[in-house]
Symmetry: C2
Subunit: 392 residues, 2 copies
């Protein structure tokens, strides 16, 4: 008489969380472990955030309920920031402040599911919880593969995956797990497919842009602003990574003024979040957004860790990808068995996540948002692993 689907999700944690919990147990036992599992930023939150939190102590009304969609002041700040990023117009009335990007994605997906036939497409590699959120909302989760080592989207596969039941495509750039940044040409190609399919089927196909890593870009990389390419874009954002506060759960949904069915979508987001029990986003962090300073956490360690690990792994004979942002690196299992490699690494005290459930079979994901020390120590363990695989 219980919900078997929910029991399954509770019993079978994501592989990331499973390894993360294992690492915590080892650490609690005083054992040394190099944990490259979870995207838990190692860099502190910027000073201005602490100052804003401090100022709330004199202002008890900060802890009160806000409107369900979030404080108007905070939504004004967000709309202004989005308007500065491109030529597309956003207003505060198109913003819903949420308990992080996960809540934002859930609110959006639930809104877009009109029946059990609804299909939501994710471009591989993708964050595995997209599947959980989509199936939890009662829709079908469809994936589209990639081409080559650098995870270029497979446009031909996308074209044949979109059906009359496709209500949305999820894109995540910079990408978790690959660190790929989608370039303008790729976004144009995706948009052209969706424009044509919208015309063919006579209804909008939304592009859900999941953007928690958008500020974390390496070197010269630029991030194209997706709504400027495709007006039916729904942005889901989180401050978890940009401000190093993933546990606090603060983010937003934003839709441009010109999006198809603006009012219905916005009502749907509020209804979906309401039915999921999201009364409002944590008010102290809404106050933080009201007082936003354009100063992010110091991301430099992510790039130097990425370089250290990528170069080190290549020298050891492993194959790695070339991330342009975010804080993950992909390594190929030499024998194609990513779960086996994760197990072998675990025995050495090195925790790395098989990326098969991310739609990248044979790869493993390394979170590089650790301290320099952990990155260095893990290279020593990778050396042992290279010997096991006969690479050196």
């Amino acid at each position: 008489m219980l919900n078997e689907h929910m029991l399954f999700l509770g019993r079978n944690r994501s592989e990331i969380r499973e390894l993360f919990e294992y690492g915590k147990t080892l650490t609690a036992q005083g054992k040394q472990v190099c944990d490259l599992t979870l995207g838990n930023p190692s860099t502190p939150t910027p000073n201005w955030v602490s100052q804003v939190l401090s100022s709330t102590l004199e202002n008890p009304s900060v802890h009160a309920y806000t409107s369900a969609q979030g404080s108007l002041r905070a939504r004004r700040v967000i709309a202004k920031q989005l308007n500065e990023r491109g030529t597309t117009c956003f207003s505060p009335d198109g913003v819903v402040i949420t308990c992080g990007a996960a809540a934002a994605l859930c609110g959006v997906i639930k809104t877009l599911v009109s029946s059990e036939n609804t299909e939501i497409i994710a471009l591989s590699p993708y964050f595995p919880e997209y599947k959980v959120f989509t199936e939890g909302a009662g829709a079908k989760f469809i994936t589209v593969g990639f081409c080559g080592e650098n995870f270029t989207p497979d446009i031909i596969a996308l074209k044949s995956a979109v059906t009359k039941n496709t209500h949305a495509v999820i894109i995540n750039s910079p990408n978790n797990p690959s660190g790929k940044v989608f370039i303008a040409e790729e976004i144009t190609a995706i948009s052209q497919v969706l424009f044509a399919k919208e015309k063919e089927f006579g209804h909008p196909i939304y592009l859900i842009s999941d953007e928690p890593y958008r500020e974390i870009l390496f070197s010269e990389n630029k991030l194209p602003f997706i709504p400027d390419f495709y007006k039916n874009t729904i942005i889901c954002y989180s401050y978890s990574k940009s401000l190093s506060l993933p546990g606090e759960r603060i983010g937003y949904i934003a839709i441009p003024d010109q999006i198809c069915a603006f009012n219905d979508l916005y009502a749907g987001f509020l209804g979906s979040l309401r039915s999921y029990g999201y009364v409002c986003a944590p008010s102290i962090f809404q106050f933080m957004i009201e007082n936003f300073k354009e100063v992010y956490a110091d991301f430099s360690v992510y790039e130097s860790n990425k370089n250290l690990l990528a170069n080190g792994l290549i020298q050891l004979g492993f194959t790695v990808n070339d991330p342009q942002g975010a804080f993950y690196l992909m390594v190929k299992a030499p024998d194609g068995d990513s779960k086996g490699m994760s197990e072998k690494a675990k025995e050495l005290g090195l925790l790395i996540v098989p990326a098969d459930t991310f739609g990248a079979k044979g790869y493993l994901r390394l979170a590089t948002c650790v301290s320099h020390g952990v990155a260095r120590d893990s290279l020593l363990l990778f050396e042992k692993l290279a010997k096991i695989y006969g690479l050196i």
Copy 2:
């Protein structure tokens, strides 16, 4: 191609929220308004909470992801507190820390819904969002009436409402909207019905005890600890009211060690919250629980407001109930038309919520968690209302 149910929920806000937003608009226009709609506590959060928040500023790791079920330290504190309340045993492994009681209720209800035939019963009067959470999870929402002016549960009606499809009954004491505290005899009577029905149908019928107001008790009133009466009790709690921080979204689910299907329930809670996008409860407030002091917000204003309003309204010729806790008072519409009375009050700048959707037809709910000044001013407006109704 959108989800019509979610659009409906988004377009038709709860009457509480609708009036609250209206009041905010008036206030923004500089107009005077006596807003008795929302349970937004007027008393500040206790000093120790501010001190704990302050101490996090030196500890950036506070903002990291926690385990999905919440920090072990915080769960230990919660289990210890529950164990001190009665003879029933709770362990940290039976606690899930959530984004407030709404998330807790959603996680519990979703777990208990095995098919569209599942029925969840609420004892009237009840918090209207129970219906939203239950129907959102795909089950049927059934209500059971009350007897008399003091909202005594109708045990005979409960007995006939429980069917083989009933998976849970929701009880809320001290009650929103009535302020009723269920006495031991009433809980015993409810338990006896459920024991008999469990035996008859051969499966557990859970009692969901929604307890956000449990610390707010007037005078000599005592709160029976429900799990001591009925082992298949699931506690849903929020710190919103006890610590005056409703916007921050922190609470928990707790199940006793002896509950039927302990492991399945716990897995279901985690799975349900995961599928709804709850990654973890806000970590800074989990840290607050870890450092919990048994000092609550100062509730004295709620009782004095209740007395002021109840006495004043009786003198004006209105009929009110006798709340034993929480921070609401019920007033009867003299002509039985609560919506009409809410409209008439609104024209005077007095915002009070019709309680028909709370299962209390003909009543209105007054939130007494306002300042003394607002309570006094609203009595002046009630005087005008009494004249309109020809009571004075």
